[in-house]
Amino acid sequence: MSTCSKTARSRGARRNGRPRSRHGFGALGGILLLLALPAPLRPQGPDLDEVLSGYPAAEAARLEAFITQPRWDGFPTELLLEHTAEGAVKGVRADRLLAALDEYAERIDRANEILGERASTTSLEATADVLGRGVPEVVVRTVAAVNPRDDHLTASMVALGDLVAAGVPPDEAENLLLDAATRRHDNDDVLGLPAQVRRWIKQGYQPTDAAAEVRRTMDFPRQPDGMMDRYNRPRQDPPF
């Protein structure tokens, strides 16, 4: 008599006259448990062991402990893993990588708080980048509020960061993006706004004036039948 059947019988595990088999269900249960684990405990993206293989064991352990800590409950840890992979492949030292990860995580956290659960990792990263450029949260919130669709939000955040990088003050950049949203510009148009501003800057305009010039000359949306939007009539050029 095998040990297994002894155990089953000793627990009185008989049903319909047959001993209850426990074989095989452990593995299936394990698979289900693994699948049911929350995403933060199983970071997606590059393999963590592979990413950290270039670091000495003690430093790799510190990095792993940072990435897998319970603090990241609900946090898109795949972004942390990607950033770690980036730092590792670029040969960044562990202590510097840890500091950079901490700062990056803090920005992603702020972006997450502003955008809420609706945000994809792409829009989160774009928003975190904007926050890292020193754009006030109120500006980020306003731009996010007028872009409920995630791809529009991402385009606007990328453009916002780019405009600020070009020297446009955040509130001017915000106005430009609000105008674009009001005029229902598509993603390509929004992403093209910083290039337009840079063209005016190359002409000798100050960034603020360049942004104002782009707003003034901004295209107006057309209705499907080719008519102008009645609520967004083109402004008249000044008579000088």
């Binding site: 095989g24 269900f25 299936l28 249960g29 698979i31 289900l32 699948l35 049911a36 995403a39 997606q44 993206g45 590059p46 795949e78 972004l79 990607e82 950033h83 992979a85 980036e86 730092g87 590792a88 492949v89 670029k90 040969g91 960044v92 510097r96 990588l97 950079a100 700062e103 990056y104 994809s120 990792t121 792409t122 990263e125 774009a126 980048d129 890292g132 669709r149 995630d150 791809d151 529009h152 991402t154 385009a155 990328v158 960061g161 780019d162 990088a165 949203a181 229902r184 510009h185 598509d186 993603n187 390509d188 992403l191 910083p194 290039a195 949306p221 499907p224």
Partner: protein, 203 residues
Amino acid sequence: MHEDVQRYLDGELTVEELPDQLRAEATAWEALLEDVRMTAVSGAPAWLEPRVLKAVEVASVPAWRRGLRWLMQPRTIRVAPAPAFAALAVLALAIALPWTGGLSGSGSPDDATVYVQLFLEAPSASSVAIAGDFNSWAPFELEDADGDGVWSARLAVNPGVYEYMFVLDGSRWVTDPHAERYSDDGFGNRNAVLAILPEGSRT
């Protein structure tokens, strides 16, 4: 009944063809059948059929209601544990897979792949690779087929926002000078940023 009597009743034999000893029996059977014929009911009364049909129509239930009744009826379903676990595992995989794979920053499942041609002029380099969050920062070699010092690669990416850098000779990290936008990588370098978003009109 004798076989010949049966044949007589079926009209296959005449009474003259029957043996004498069977004629009386045949005549008796014939008389009996005639009696039955005379007393049989010719058919149902005319009023009965429409009345029955009407009753049947009232009693019939539409298919959708029968289906709903079937769905709402409590039932005992007997399932063996192993197939049930397997079905659950497949279901869990189907739910989990779309969120686990793909490129970082990829968008909705209906995103179309976009091909991007990237190039770098580096005549003195013996190898040029590109690494970014589209390939989890695993360097991918560029080609300089004609040896003119211009290295290029064609990448297939889903719409998204990607950061990348070039790697010269396996160790020197270089920012793409032709990028439209850049981002601080947090490690003292500047990543080039590639923003490819779906055509998202706001109509």
